[in-house]
């Protein structure tokens, strides 16, 4: 309880810093920083929560929302939309839904979580190659829209959209609480899950699909922001929360907190030049991930 309260306190302190750093005017706080804060927290918490579910469902510590090709499909959709003269968000959402359908297909055909994971890796590679192919064909004056999308810049949305994203993240937090039993049982193996009353094949596919939906939505709005989904669940396990509500709540809070911190750095580091939040999460996340790996493998003896 004390740990959750501390995490909440850290998130609140970060939010305060995010809103009032540099003493901006009232207009900037209300019309720019507040929607930016709400949407950033929502995106971070969705990505980390989905990452935790993916890792457990696929029994793979490297699984995250982007592993199954959702992000690259979305980015490809954005690039195709730009090439056809449309807004990138629509195409991104459409292609993420396409990746969801492909995932459903893979779930029916392969029936093993490892095969689904490999199918996702293959899709990821294919979509990434198609993105590069499209870059080579796009005229330079439209390339920026596509690049901006794939780099993972967080642009402040309207307050309405930010509140919508917040409610989406809270809905999925609630869903995560509801499905926490299969999420806890799947890493123990399909037999153990079966004898505990969970059909592992069905549960894996339905969990992956359920938690891909909000990821597809966030990617279609803010592009690819990596490492949150992979690092935060490991960090939470490192803090001693492996099961139950504590694990879910901590993952939700720390995911949002990490992205808020990353966006704060992205905004202020080279102010007024804005950096992509995805780059900062990778810069913070990669060393943290290596450290966690080292601790897990007994590197400290």
């Amino acid at each position: 309880m004390l740990k959750v309260a501390s995490a909440l306190l850290i998130v609140l302190a970060l939010s305060f810093l995010f809103l009032f750093y540099g003493s901006p005017g009232r207009e900037v706080v209300l019309s720019v920083r507040l929607p930016e804060l709400l949407s950033t927290f929502a995106v971070g918490s969705i990505l980390s929560l989905s990452g935790a579910v993916y890792q457990n469902a696929l029994r793979n510590p490297l699984a995250e929302p982007y592993t199954l090709g959702v992000a690259s499909a979305s980015a490809l959709g954005a690039v195709v939309s730009v090439a056809l003269g449309f807004r990138p968000e629509g195409g991104a959402l459409l292609f993420s839904i396409l990746s969801l359908l492909l995932l459903l297909f893979a779930g029916r055909v392969f029936r093993s979580s490892f095969s689904i994971l490999l199918f996702g890796v293959g899709l990821n590679a294919l979509f990434s190659a198609l993105i590069l192919f499209a870059y080579a064909l796009l005229p330079s004056y439209t390339l920026t829209d596509a690049l901006y999308f794939t780099l993972g810049f967080i642009t402040p949305p309207s307050l309405k959209l930010a509140l919508f994203l917040c409610s989406i993240s809270l809905i999925w937090l609630f869903i995560a609480f509801i499905v926490r039993r299969p999420v806890e049982l799947l890493p123990l193996g399909s037999e153990m899950a079966y004898f505990s009353g969970v059909n592992s094949e069905k549960a894996t596919v339905s969990l992956l699909l359920t938690f891909t939906v909000p990821v597809a939505l966030t990617v279609s709005l803010f592009g690819i922001i990596g490492f949150v989904g992979i690092v935060i669940p490991h960090a939470v396990r490192f803090l001693g929360y492996r099961l139950g509500s504590g694990f879910i709540l901590f993952t939700f809070l720390l995911g949002g907190g990490l992205l808020v911190l990353s966006q704060l750095i992205a905004r202020q580091f080279l102010y007024p030049t804005l950096l992509p939040a995805g780059v900062i999460t990778a810069l913070l996340g990669a060393p943290a991930f290596i450290y966690l790996l080292w601790r897990y493998s007994g590197g400290r003896g």
């Binding site: 900037v28 807004r87 829209d145 901006y148 810049f153 642009t155 402040p156 102010y271 030049t273």
Partner: protein, 248 residues
């Protein structure tokens, strides 16, 4: 009487001081157009890439692709101008915040003329398109003796080989100066093999000439900023190009 005069002066001072537009430009080329129109006093914010003298002392709002939205908002602009190099999503953020925003495509010469006309209208400035065209013609006339009849390839970068084709603004200008620009099209990446098949008699390179051994090549990298901005700054660039080309 003096008191009345002073009262009127002090009351009307804000009107004189803030009567014009407050423009934030998210493109160095657009800032240069505004400067050419004589309205740089109304420019309150520019990008970090604006390297001309008139940009000194202006507030910097970040890059072309990634400016700080809150910095722009804090300058309380009445107009934000940007090109298609600035992502559409950013421009829409300004519109949503109630700031008038104009996003221009600035690729060809006609685009530049259109931008000059629109900005002159927006800023209630004297239209200078005809003057600009005349000045451009003069510079191109000066280039004709050195470019006439040349099969020209304009290399913007060497690795990869990225070039400005015939329909780019640079291509069109140098065609007007008598050169035959290859290949067709606007800005594009081409292979080395394709370059050999074009058999250019002259290469203008912005990335040095060491990669073009066996070709007649002119290194224009020191004038990159002057020639690669689709703006009135081109006049200076063409003058510099004439200096290099015709003094060989």
């Amino acid at each position: 009487m003096i008191r009345v005069f002073l009262f009127l002066l002090l009351s009307l001072f804000p009107l004189f001081a803030f009567g014009g537009e407050r423009v934030v430009s998210l493109s160095p080329a657009l800032s240069e157009v505004i400067h050419y129109l004589g309205r740089d006093a109304e420019l309150v914010g520019v990008t970090v890439f604006c390297d001309e003298d008139f940009c000194r002392g202006k507030e910097r709002v970040g890059g072309i692709v990634n400016p700080s939205i809150e910095k722009v908002v804090s300058l309380r602009p009445t107009l934000v101008v940007c090109t298609t190099m600035t992502p559409e999503r950013l421009c829409e953020s300004f519109k949503r915040l109630g700031i008038k925003t104009e996003r221009f495509r600035l690729v060809s010469l006609n685009d530049l003329y259109g931008v000059m006309e629109t900005l002159a209208r927006e800023l209630s400035a004297t239209p200078k398109v005809s003057l600009f065209k005349r000045e451009l013609e003069e510079e191109l006339e000066g280039l004709k003796p050195c470019l006439k009849g040349k099969r020209l390839f304009i290399a913007l970068s060497v690795k990869p080989l990225y070039c400005a084709g015939r329909s780019s603004y640079l291509g069109r200008l140098l065609e007007k100066a008598g050169a035959q620009v290859f290949p067709d099209g606007s800005f594009q990446a081409v292979s080395r093999e394709f370059l050999l098949s074009l058999r250019p008699s002259l290469i203008i390179s912005f990335g040095g000439c060491s990669a073009f051994k066996g070709f007649e090549c002119v290194d224009v990298s020191p004038f990159k900023s002057d020639l690669l901005h689709p703006s009135p700054r081109l006049l200076k660039g063409l003058r510099e190009l004439r200096g290099v080309l015709c003094s060989r």
